[in-house]
Symmetry: C2
Amino acid sequence: MRIQTLYYHNHILYVLDQLKLPHQKKYIVCRNWQQVVQVIKKMNIRGAPAIGVAAAFGIALGAWRQNTKNKQRFLSQIDTVAGKLTATRPTAVNLSWAIGQLLDYLEKIKAQDINSIKTWLEKKAQQILNEDVLINKKMAVHGEKLIPRNARILTHCNAGALATAGYGTALGVIREAHKRGKKISVLVDETRPYLQGARLTAWELKEENIPFHLISDNMAGHFISRREVDCVITGADRVAANGDTANKIGTYTLAVLAKENNIPFYIAAPLSTIDLKIKSGAEIPIEERSADELTGIAGKRIAPEGIKVKNPAFDVTPAKYITAIITEKGIIRKPYQKNLPICAEKAAK
Amino acid sequence: MRIQTLYYHNHILYVLDQLKLPHQKKYIVCRNWQQVVQVIKKMNIRGAPAIGVAAAFGIALGAWRQNTKNKQRFLSQIDTVAGKLTATRPTAVNLSWAIGQLLDYLEKIKAQDINSIKTWLEKKAQQILNEDVLINKKMAVHGEKLIPRNARILTHCNAGALATAGYGTALGVIREAHKRGKKISVLVDETRPYLQGARLTAWELKEENIPFHLISDNMAGHFISRREVDCVITGADRVAANGDTANKIGTYTLAVLAKENNIPFYIAAPLSTIDLKIKSGAEIPIEERSADELTGIAGKRIAPEGIKVKNPAFDVTPAKYITAIITEKGIIRKPYQKNLPICAEKAAK
């Protein structure tokens, strides 16, 4: 099965509505950049690499849908669109990375006529999508080497095909290990409040017949302490220069549990997730989402009315808890402060 | 507000239906022991001390509803009822403790006529209920001393009035600290899969105007790591002779997080929860509950059909993570192996 998280055709972006999964497989039609802003904000599409790719198409649509013949106005409007897209979600750096890719490219081609620019920006966005899939596959090949035969792997949230343009980061590694006949099995955290594990990861693994059990987030520690988990692997939303990693809320807890029980904790993330501009995790902005996500589930109210809620969507795992970071350029180990820039440089060449 | 978890009147046990909270406050009418078995099994009533008290009334009803005039048959039927009640849920020791209390008492009075025995068993069950409330209040007075002014306390599941005959264990301590003007605030884990935190603890705290925020279980680590929690306090379902403690799934994880971040982790439990007959947590049976609790929420399906699930209702926190155990006889500290039996002996005197 090839899960298409999003695709672009005839100047329209089609986004698989992840809020309807696993019950319905429906695509949302985005004809303009405003609709792209909405699907990212509302989390119809989520996952750091996936929202990066969506934002790239948002820029392309922000160019395509303009009727102006005034180049200055045209370029300035693209800048506005870039700002709006960047502001949709603060934590994942892939969003600004992908937008930056398009703006850098625009800088190179801005002397061309408006129609050419429109076409080139679409091509560039499509290239980012295609490359994301290739990058995931490279990451999977590197990461798979860390997975022992018969490994029982715990994963959190959804770092699968649905979180990317295809194949997945953490789930890409798991897919690859399965494909190579390693007889792995997976424990899937349901991942409250959005239930990306129960709804999305469970769906992806089921579709591919990879053996798994669903658990609630607070059960992970129980199974880790009973030696029923051999390693933990998750994706990432932003990795700071020192290796501190922001990822879906709950990741920090898994890393602490892994350390306490002496099993490895891996992050799988493309280099576009690594943000060398920030020194440590303390600088990563943590998105706070709406209280409704917690007081209700699937539209059904569970908690009493009128109560206060905290709902941070991410947490930061200090680098010391991370055994290795799996990237498309290979596996990065400590000291991250030294090895992350080396890897990034190698990639830039 | 006085929350009545259960009460007995005119040979009928009324059980507040906790599955309907916080939306509805409805009592289930139990006229016979079979109905008591059902409300415990289905978790209409839950919480180690509360199900103990319910089981005591189950025995009383098992005596009361008999029409036989044959003493031997009468006593043997009570034995059968005791077996059925004990088998409802395996982890909490209070269940067998309370049933044991009634059977021991029955042993003393079994020479009396059947009608007298019936009356005495009802009185004994009522005494266990009354004492449970008193015990909670004593525990609260001892435990409150551990809570600093302005403390930000994290709690898990519901160890409140609803988990007991009234007042609560962990929430009893929190209530007491609040009553004494300590200006505390509480972080409430929602506690998947049954959502005892979101449904029950949030409801209790709201009713008493104790400041709190609801979070999902996987957020606890985030707030603990950010120094936004001063201590963790939970109830218990069974404490082994060495201090290892079974409690609601997720408790072990909180204890590890507390240790990693150098904040105290407290258990509040009456002596009836301490099981000196078992050496360590490895001997505590862990109840596995139905998959539906995890694949759906409040009757709404969330995960794909036909997937496998693990659903342990409890986990075991090794004694080394527990800073202190709060009981009605005072605060017990390490070494638990030595201090738990001393405290239990003192209580027996």
